[in-house]
Symmetry: C2
Subunit: 208 residues, 2 copies
DNA sequence: CGATACATTGAACAAATTCAAAGCTGGTGG
DNA sequence: CCACCAGCTTTGAATTTGTTCAATGTATCG
């Protein structure tokens, strides 16, 4: 796996150091990456799939605070602050992660100026994304909320289950279902039936 | 003004450099710090007051994305990313700001390892706060939303106008008013009437 | 004493949630 | 190959909750 794709400012030696203090793991939809309260002994970097950041409230409901698309660290702020995770992270789809040993990673960060620069840029990006996500969430009109999500994440719209999309948008699956119907009625979404072409049968028909 | 209070890792020389590329300004409630679309020629650091971060949607409604309490940079991510502000910032109360020349500040950041470290910690903090704010906003129940705000920001609850609090919480002033009444009825809030003591009149009564 | 800005209240309305039931779909075992 | 099950999706009806808009109340300041 080409780490250099994710950490562009680092030279070969530095990249191989990062490789030496990490490993790549695969995770399935529904797998938990870390729970609220966990100590960040490992630092996770998403390279494939979708991750949901959430909190479980007293009454047991999950509130989605963010979703993370690769390439991105997950919960890096707790790592940097050296506090236990105040949030949970769960796979919303199958995916892959780089898992770093936190201790070595933070040591490396503290020593390496380029990596620091990259981290600053990375954190700034994350803040921007969080604002943008927050903006989407605060849209109270479900129709606009869903429309925005489809527009910005067509790929996720087709690859994630509706329950997962609903959870990302903090709406109920029922509302999502009804909203999609409305969007279809309004002609904003077209329903395409997938037509499988069975070539051999076509051939045989033509040859009759 | 003791910059060293805000930038703890810097030595005297560095602090006086920061002073040389900045000035302190005062702003009043309702003043705009920057508009969405502005180029971040200046970088703002809040040292007193409350700032609202928001976006104006197509239909003209403001959506609050965050509120900022001192000491804190405002819109620092746009400065770091060298993009124009994708958000607006407005004073929700009277306050004070440090205004840096962005060009010199970013140059300084790029050269100074301690400042970089401090910035990384600072950005991590901001991400954490944003999640926490997001959590509060996503609470759909107005009663809990308001209760949480009062609990976490008793000072702001008493110092900000209700319209400002409502705007921070993304609810209408009417809802806030009704919610506060409910909280009072439930005994979660006690209404204390402030009794002003007019000492001179008291004196004169006693001297009669 | 207005005037102005802010706060509260009421009634009608809009929109999402909840809960229950029914519909689909893909996979498994007989 | 069919029947059945489990998980996901859709639909309906009742309910809850916040918004909107209009009106009234309240406070502060010249």
């Amino acid at each position: 796996m080409e780490y250099s794709k994710f950490f562009k400012s680092l030279n070969n030696k530095e990249i191989s150091y990062l490789k030496s203090i990490s490993k790549i793991i695969e995770r399935k939809e529904g797998d938990i990456i870390f729970w609220e309260g966990d100590t960040p002994k490992n630092t996770f970097f998403l390279i494939e799939g979708v991750v949901k950041i959430y909190k479980t409230s007293n009454n047991g409901n999950d509130i989605t605070l963010n979703y993370i698309l690769p390439p991105s660290f997950i919960g890096e702020f707790a790592v940097i602050k050296k506090i236990s995770y105040p949030i949970s992270a769960e796979m919303e789809s199958n995916g892959k992660l780089i898992v770093f040993e936190t201790k070595n990673l933070t040591k490396f960060l503290d020593k390496n100026r380029n990596f620091m620069r990259e981290m600053i840029m990375y954190l700034a990006n994350k803040i921007e994304k969080n604002y943008s996500y927050c903006e989407d969430l605060m849209e109270k009109n479900a129709k606009k909320k869903v429309a925005k999500f489809i527009k910005e994440h067509e790929d996720l719209f087709f690859s994630l289950k509706h329950t997962k999309i609903a959870s990302i948008l903090n709406i109920t699956p029922e509302t999502l279902s009804r909203t999609l119907r409305e969007l279809k009625n309004d002609g904003l979404i077209e329903e395409r039936k997938i037509v499988k072409i069975n070539k051999s049968k076509l051939e045989s028909l033509l040859n009759d």
